[in-house]
Symmetry: C2
Subunit: 378 residues, 2 copies
Amino acid sequence: MSAAVGDAEREARLGLSCVVEPGSLEVARAVAEHGAIAVWAGLRGGSGALARRASALDLTAVARQAVDAGARFVIPGDAEWPRGLDDLGAVSTRAITPAELGGLPLGIWLRGPASVAARSVAIVGSRASTAYGEGVAADLAADLAEAGVAVISGGAYGIDAAAHRGALAGGGATVAVLACGVDVAYPQGNASLLAAIAAEHLVLSELAPGSHPTRVRFLARNRLIAAATSAVVVVEAAHRSGARNTASWARALGRPLLAVPGPITSAGSVTPNQLIRDHVAEAVTGAADVLEIIGRAGEDLAPELPPDAPRPVDALPADLLGLFEALPGRGGIAAGDLALRLARELPRVIIDLGRLEEAGLALQLPDGRWKIRPGGAG
Amino acid sequence: MSAAVGDAEREARLGLSCVVEPGSLEVARAVAEHGAIAVWAGLRGGSGALARRASALDLTAVARQAVDAGARFVIPGDAEWPRGLDDLGAVSTRAITPAELGGLPLGIWLRGPASVAARSVAIVGSRASTAYGEGVAADLAADLAEAGVAVISGGAYGIDAAAHRGALAGGGATVAVLACGVDVAYPQGNASLLAAIAAEHLVLSELAPGSHPTRVRFLARNRLIAAATSAVVVVEAAHRSGARNTASWARALGRPLLAVPGPITSAGSVTPNQLIRDHVAEAVTGAADVLEIIGRAGEDLAPELPPDAPRPVDALPADLLGLFEALPGRGGIAAGDLALRLARELPRVIIDLGRLEEAGLALQLPDGRWKIRPGGAG
């Protein structure tokens, strides 16, 4: 805890982050204008509930609790400060609700041996998820993790937990960004998952150790998820969902916003399908799409066929196609029989069989009969 | 059968349509350049298999079979000629495979009491459909039918059949466009469905009564589905599917191409999801989206909320949001208790409660306590 050893800037930011609600645009602006030290001094010298809380704050006790929690406090400029967060200092929150919430964090708390990776993808979605959404989140996370991309999520039930678990299963990095202290097991049911992430990877929060989540803190937290990542993927979310708020942050921050299509009959796919329909998000059908969009071609992932790539067969003129269709896949047929069956002149059929052979679609057997060339129609 | 009573143009087109494979661009171009009468006369005076077939054609027998089948032959300029088909005379087939297949039909056969509606939507997809795809196709068709939009499809198993059945269930119009004669029950399992469509609505084909389907005829048929409709919706189709061919025709003809998102884990949703992902098709999540795109606002369909329409609550500044969150939905809470609970000054809390009341979010009870205004947060 460098804050306990006399770094005035660090101490001011630590103090502010302990008494001010996260995401206060007002405080963020004051700090940007006057500096954290002046704002902290002004707050402690003022009156009102906040000032009383600031004066009563025991930074030594905070430092002790942080040590107990295994948490470190990181401020802008520190090596571990995720560079993406800096974008929060400049972005307009006008298109985001509530518009009064935003701004550069005063500092962040980290717990765990890792740092935020330069290349990471946020996988977000509903707590009330379906088996489809959880399966997709886990698979996507595992594939991204295997491709060396860290998976960031919010540590909640449902899609978040599936994404973290998928990343762990894929042997990759994962970061849980919480709306409570990095030492607080919330939700309780994810306690062991969060402990595993803290033990091997990273838990991140804007809130001091011991802090509990509130709705406003969830909203403030969402901006960190969007800012810390290279792209945000909405896997499953109902019409009203926190994932929509994270999506708005991604848009405001210029992060690619991606969404996974799902059944139009599923409430959980309403938000991703709407984001895609309204051209707010790009549709992704797997990790390869995500990797392509964040500009890192997954060399080990098989490239998909372009949607309209013609098969050799599709390129055939109608008369050759009719002839090709008449060829058997097994055994063989004589050219004369083909001519009879198709009511075409034999010389024409023989010429056309030659053209099919040239195109790699037909094969003449040793006995002179013809069949489809295996693999030629694929 | 006007063709049997001396109309040379009609007789020429009838004759040609009986001996030439549908979708022969070569013949369509010759007819456009020289007229059907000249092409028909030239063909009958020529040599080769086609000429022999033309000379042997018994138009009286064709007419008799048509009467037996309840089929009528319609040519460009007739009142019943679907105007959309005319677009086939001008469109380039370069982006479509096979590129040699296309052109204005020589004529079409109709069976059933209806005509092709001015406003219709094609619902297309795989024969190998899932319960999801069939349910979506049927619901979409029923909703479109109820909104007065005819549903066009190909009479096949799977998505086609579900679309036709949905339209019938919705009490609306439906048209089956076949790759065989309008009197041929193909596939056999859809015989009663096709009979019902012919009895109450319309079966359409480019092929003479009694003709059987071939792969080329399916491909030729697909262009009629796209051309006859206001938009094409791909509900479910695997990576390789005839629906992709119909989709290419829709694009070439400038018809809106729509697709229904589905699970990325379902083979049946691979094509619609890819078309959406690649911005080839617009995603639709229901009939309202389709109606909006074809320019007919469904007045009886509830408009959906725009994706980012802020709720009043979402627009609240963080401090008001915290106060709103502390209000009970049932019973009430005194302002003084709120101030204690939130550690805020009482005058501030009273002022903010007034602001929430103004925003329609808080309600003061007769006893002075406060609660959430019912419906205010929705």
